[in-house]
């Protein structure tokens, strides 16, 4: 579509008046400051709303954290107990590295004790799970995995039977 047959010159001249309409003096001096202030206010409101959301979704966490507000004694006690717990864990881990070896050595020395365990626990379990007729039953009871293998010991010296394959009758 074109402007053929139409003369819009006068209209364009009239519309020039729109360019002379100006906002109150000093309006643009404040404008950018107001925009930036609103952006900053929005950012801080978002930060507050995060706390509000936490309050809604995990009120127990908020009330727990509030326990520490202006209570240095509780904070210190909590931190000390955390340290002690960590220390206890480290000591326990160090002991457990040597612990199983001693147990195993003791078990090897006292053959009777080991045999008693083998005959009383595992075969009984295997017999209970044996099918009445047909099929192969695989017993892989993970809870019976020898503790010694967890600490680098050979399975041959195990106290427990690892798995049993029972042929069908």
């Amino acid at each position: 579509m074109s402007e053929r047959g139409q003369n819009f010159d006068d209209l364009k001249k009239l519309l020039k008046l729109k360019r002379h309409e100006v906002p109150p003096p000093g309006f643009f001096n404040q404008f950018s400051e107001e925009v930036v202030a609103r952006i900053r206010a929005g950012e801080s409101r978002n930060a507050h709303s995060l706390a509000d959301r936490l309050n809604d979704q995990a009120p127990w966490l908020v009330s727990f954290l509030r326990l520490f507000e202006a209570k240095p004694g509780i904070v210190g006690g909590f931190a000390t107990s955390l340290c002690l717990l960590m220390l206890f864990g480290v000591v326990l881990a160090e002991r457990s590295e040597t612990g199983p070896k001693n147990i195993f050595t003791a078990a090897a020395d006292g053959q009777a004790a080991a045999t008693a365990v083998e005959t009383s626990a595992t075969p009984q379990f295997a017999a209970n799970t044996l099918p009445a007729e047909g099929g192969i039953t695989i017993s892989t009871n993970a809870s019976l995995q020898p503790v010694a293998t967890l600490f680098g010991q050979s399975a041959a010296a195990s106290l427990f039977q690892p798995a049993s394959f029972a042929p069908a009758h």
């Binding site: 579509m1 006068d10 008046l17 729109k18 360019r19 002379h20 906002p23 309006f27 643009f28 925009v35």
Partner: protein, 205 residues
């Protein structure tokens, strides 16, 4: 004044290129964004003012547009100029606002600056209407704004961007998300409508 004193310092936001300001603002630098607002506030405000015919609405919409643009700044990849991208946000916001407002409008017009009374084109159009220039200009201003508000939003937007803001067809097409042919046809139709509403001021209709 020496040349060094007049040259903008490229280390301050005022002396920076637009692309650098945008990058800084994308990283959360509010001083850089403040400078971007200063650069475009007059054009954005003016467009929204001409669209709404209301200073307060234009102020609110312009602020909202700049705030929305800041929030969306990370999504700005530089496919268009920042200026066009900003305009698009402001225009969409204004069109949505006007659709919600429907036909209920309240004029709150700004004052006409002193230079208007010395514009020969304007004076030629109003000289034989009323004896005093300021009264004639005020009346023309009201009629002009009312005529603009009678147009649909897309037609009003095109005539404001082209005939008042002096944007090219290409820029308007990019801002409004339509092709140049649509811009031209809308402009033609909008001018026809405006002429019909302002016959008493336009001699050769």
């Amino acid at each position: 004044m020496s040349e060094a004193a007049t040259m903008p310092d490229s280390n301050t936001p005022a002396g920076m290129l637009e692309a650098d300001l945008v990058k800084r603002a994308q990283r959360g630098d509010l001083k850089a964004y403040d400078e971007l607002v200063k650069r475009y506030q007059q054009r954005i405000y003016a467009t929204l003012y001409h669209m709404t015919g209301n200073h307060e609405d234009a102020n609110d919409l312009a602020q909202d547009a700049f705030i929305k643009a800041y929030a969306a700044l990370k999504s700005f990849k530089g496919g268009s100029t920042f200026y066009t991208w900003l305009y698009r946000i402001a225009v969409n916001k204004t069109i949505n606002f006007l659709k919600q407002r429907k036909n209920k409008y309240h004029l709150s017009l700004n004052d006409i600056d002193f230079n208007a009374e010395h514009d020969p084109d304007l004076m030629a159009l109003i000289s034989d209407k009323t004896p005093t220039r300021d009264v004639a200009l005020a009346e023309l201003q009201k009629k002009l704004n009312e005529a603009l508000l009678k147009l649909s939003e897309p037609h009003r937007m095109v005539i404001v961007l082209h005939d008042v803001q002096d944007l090219s067809h290409d820029e308007i097409a990019e801002i409004m998300g339509c092709n140049i042919g649509t811009v031209r046809s809308r402009l033609f139709y909008a001018r026809q409508q405006m002429q019909g509403h302002l016959t008493e001021y336009i001699k050769n209709v």
